[in-house]
Symmetry: C2
Subunit: 219 residues, 2 copies
């Protein structure tokens, strides 16, 4: 089974452009830092991030704002998908890099158009896939953050990476500083703990190459 990363996956270039006409899709460009606000009351648009990066943020009453999701290439977003039963106006999509975004009517996605495009169910399938993968990714990070200690967080994350790589050796996908952010812990405290773990022979770290030495299950 193939991984769906793009909402247009398994839809040919030709079908795609046909569909875009059919959907009256429009592509827009945004510069880093700008806010996407094309939400009109009568026609709900959904956006597809073709290029760049953006955040879905909530603006709190006290002025603080928190990032609800970070959107990457291929992600879909829109009032119709996330803003429902939230105070619109408290939610925004903010570009963190220059973005290219494709908009089309949400109604087109869930309903077959008049021309009854055959690839329509593929589109729905892809949307569901993208959204469910996101849920799993979020749950994974939640699982890590709900560990109590730095050591447990590291081990939890490492075991996920190891599993993903199919062996007990793997490459860290980012710097130790970012790792600390990802685990939501203090960097120096994390380094200290990592050192201890090395000394105890739990892991082997050289550069960003990690070798986990998990104790065998006794059973």
């Amino acid at each position: 089974m193939e991984q769906v990363t793009n909402i247009f996956q398994n839809i040919t270039e030709q079908e795609c452009s046909q569909m875009m006409r059919c959907f009256q899709a429009a592509e827009k460009r945004y510069t880093a830092g700008s806010v996407i606000s094309t939400y009109s009351r009568d026609s709900q648009k959904i956006g597809i991030l073709r290029e760049g990066e953006a955040n879905l943020v909530r603006i709190h009453s006290d002025g603080r704002q928190t990032i609800l999701e970070d959107l990457h290439q291929g992600d879909i977003f829109g009032e119709a998908l996330t803003f429902e039963n939230f105070d619109i106006g408290t939610m925004q999509v903010v570009c963190t890099k220059n973005c290219r975004i494709l908009f089309f009517d949400y109604a087109c996605l869930i309903r077959r158009c008049q021309k009854a495009c055959t690839f329509h169910s593929q589109l729905v399938h892809n949307s569901l896939q993208i959204m469910s993968r996101k849920a799993v990714q979020l749950s994974e990070r939640l699982e890590i953050l709900s560990q109590r200690s730095i050591r447990e967080k590291l081990l939890c994350y490492f075991s996920i990476l190891a599993a993903r790589n199919g062996r007990e050796t793997f490459q860290l996908p980012f710097s130790f500083s970012s790792l600390a952010d990802y685990l939501a812990v203090d960097r120096s405290a994390m380094m200290r703990e990592l050192k201890k773990m090395k000394e105890e022979g739990l892991v082997d770290v050289e550069k960003r190459r990690i070798v986990t030495v998990f104790p065998r299950q006794p059973f």
Copy 2:
């Protein structure tokens, strides 16, 4: 705009039963503790939790298992939705309470059936809604768990509840013990911090009724 909590929302009883015949849907019952494992290779089923509670868990190679999602009434799940591009076999749905689950073919959801039911797009809409709400809920919890201190976690969660309720007073949706679990902190440490916050006049707590006293923005 109405909140979608049920995949059959805005679909009449009659349409629903018609659709169920059309989909060859089948309802099954599971007792608390049992594992749902009706995933066959050729026909991908999705499940709808009509009653009860269940967890989507991953079984790690070291025997540990972690909860990826907890499923409640109205949630949808299935290999087609979450298990793709994961090692099936490492993922299970485990009932935590007695459950009533409705199964039908995933293909039916994304593709119109032969009889071209008109309420089909409503079904797709509902599915997308349920899944996107889940993503927002998960992000919300992530936002909370990425706070560094117990105090920050409490305040973050409280401000979400307050915003949700539209005022600075609200009711805790669960016990303090569960709250500690939700925030992934030690219960006694949380009680201690809560007491301090009361003493400092930051919050007012009586039973499960919380009144937040956030300092006014200066500007």
